[in-house]
Assembly symmetry: C2
């Protein structure tokens, strides 16, 4: 369903080659400027590679959050996960950055598992399956190293009493017409999905309601989720006299398929956190790359890191040392670094990461209840 | 919003002079036949006046419930209340009959307080107000004499976790189109109201889900609520492999205003359970009646009990002795019974009832938690 721009981004589908500059104009968000990066440096003493590399590239009211933070005003973080299957490495991007923000700003985090949405949206999925994925995904979230004292994970279903009572307050101000305009809902959309935007927006106000004072939240998430905040939460906030949520938007980590595609029908295009480490290494080894057709040609003309998912894996997650990343880029372009070696190097990094993650994930089973909000 | 029939019945509005025979045809329900009344007599040893007088006049699958009951199969009762204000005597009709059914059939009752619906539907109502009415209305319900061991009252908001988890299972099968067709929802309807039918239908399946076995429910309620069961619960039941709800439909107790109108802007057209007994007596005294313009004319030509709300109060609630009711009817028609005396007699009965109800209502405050389902 690409439009005239050649790409389409909705909370349920991302298709085509995304032009992030066009998306900023289309969604009406703000680019993260050098001023904002300088402000991060002033506050935290550094600029995280995900900011510096413009992987988190866009925002709404992030300036307001940082200005107020510098004046001593608190904020909280909110991010989420739709538990439609196992966690893959792409999901970790926003979580890793969120964990970083929590650590640097020492703030509370509310982590929403939208199991209702996934159950309602995916025709053949049972509620039991979705709740099973909620548990499995929560293990991955905990393994990221969030502070158990300041991190509150909840499932829309399991925390349904609290969430429903907030969601109705939002729903009262949102018409079906609005959801048509914001999400493209149709008359054939099921009424659970029609209502769901109220639940996703509810988390923006949950901290204020739980603590009985106005606490703005900052949402680190991929930019496809923006319509929930733009069209629902930010629209309703003044009507219920609570702060508008601020956002910081990430780009999408490409999959390992041709042209950076990640296909749910082809598990080889994504590395899952539960993959056997050797299977993961093999997926990397078999990935599409920006390499030339023959080794001879590549040695002569160089590779194309700008269209290479392997390079993106380094850039987004596995090489945060700028000089090393630059080295990979230049050696690829010059023809010195061949795809086989580059993939072997990344495969090794992914293996090391996965071993560690899986160990932490196993340990997470013992502390799930420390993190969960329950009614 | 009357249509060509001169009346309109929706779950939120009843306007015009309702033709109950036409309504049976329009809604596609079944009339309660003599056969069914005989079956009640066989089972319970009697026929309740509300059945005999055709105040409960229509049904869906009541025959199935009774046949299966005679074969030893259990069922449960489900009724509800939208807490939009104080309870008036008209609300007690279905509750009184439900209490009777519980006693005679010794069955569990699930009583839904749809505070979410009322909050979502009434523009200026706050959630706090609605929850306040939930509590006040629950006192009236308990005062009706339900068996605390077998009666489970819950608020959609307070029991939100359980209810939401069932409602999503229903919502997945209901499109916005369906709610347009069944309830006349429009693009301007708020998304909470669009979702709400899933919550109202959820109670039909709550007993089966709580007890983990298939338990059909019988719903005694005024006929305006039929669309929820016809269009949602009975439609979804086979899709989620649970029994369709059966229903038994009541007519509406008229208000005390002209032509049997009850107007929420004029509290004098309804007797509230919390009214001071003398105020209640005065409302009866000032009621519209089917009497003639002058005493002389009435003595000569007789009154019109068939269009008289005072007569309906006797018939629906305050005179269950058939011979005494017949007497009132005949003496009115003959001109012997004048409105003043008739209202004084009813006023006295209402006072006695209210004194007793208010005493029970006060005592109910101590046992609320015995009745409530909470997450």
């Amino acid at each position: 369903m690409n439009n005239k721009d050649g790409f389409n981004v909705t909370p349920w589908d991302v298709t085509g080659e995304v032009d992030y500059q066009k998306l900023i104009a289309k969604f009406g968000t703000q680019e993260i400027t050098q001023n904002l990066l300088d402000q991060f440096k002033r506050i935290t003493g550094e600029i995280h590679p995900l900011l510096n590399r413009k992987i988190f590239f866009s925002h709404r009211d992030l300036d307001l959050i940082l200005n107020n933070y510098e004046k001593g005003q608190e904020f909280c973080l909110y991010t989420g996960r739709g538990p439609s299957g196992n966690t893959h490495i792409g999901h970790l991007l926003a979580w890793k950055f969120t964990q970083y923000l929590q650590e640097k700003f020492d703030v509370e985090l509310y982590f929403q598992m939208t199991d209702d949405e996934k159950y309602l949206h995916i025709p053949n999925m049972t509620l039991k399956q979705t709740l099973g994925y909620t548990y499995e995904n929560v293990l991955d979230i905990i393994a990221m190293g969030f502070d158990s004292k300041k991190t509150h994970i909840f499932s829309d279903i399991e925390y349904g009493k609290t969430m429903y009572s907030i969601a109705v307050k939002i729903a009262k101000h949102i018409t079906f017409s609005t959801t048509k305009a914001v999400f493209g809902f149709k008359n054939s959309t099921n009424i659970g999905m029609v209502f769901f935007p109220a639940l996703q927006a509810a988390t923006c106000f949950l901290p204020s309601i739980l603590k009985n004072k106005k606490i703005p939240c900052l949402i680190p998430a991929a930019i496809d989720q923006d319509p929930y905040w733009r069209g629902i939460a930010r629209f309703v906030a003044p009507k219920i006299n609570l702060p508008k949520p601020a956002q910081i938007h990430a780009k999408f980590l490409p999959g390992l398929g041709k042209g950076g595609k990640m296909s749910s029908s082809n598990p080889n295009t994504a590395v899952f956190t539960t993959d056997d480490v050797d299977v993961a290494e093999k997926k990397i080894k078999n990935s599409y790359t920006g390499g030339k057709d023959t080794i001879a040609e590549q040695k002569l003309l160089g590779g194309r890191p700008d269209i290479c998912p392997i390079y993106d894996y380094y850039k987004f997650l596995f090489e945060y040392d700028d000089s090393k990343l630059k080295n990979i880029y230049q050696e690829c372009k010059s023809g010195k670094l061949l795809c086989g070696d580059c993939k072997a190097h990344l495969g090794n990094k992914v293996k090391i990461f996965l071993k560690d993650h899986q160990r932490k994930r196993e340990k997470a089973k013992n502390v799930v209840e420390k993190f969960m909000l329950r009614d």
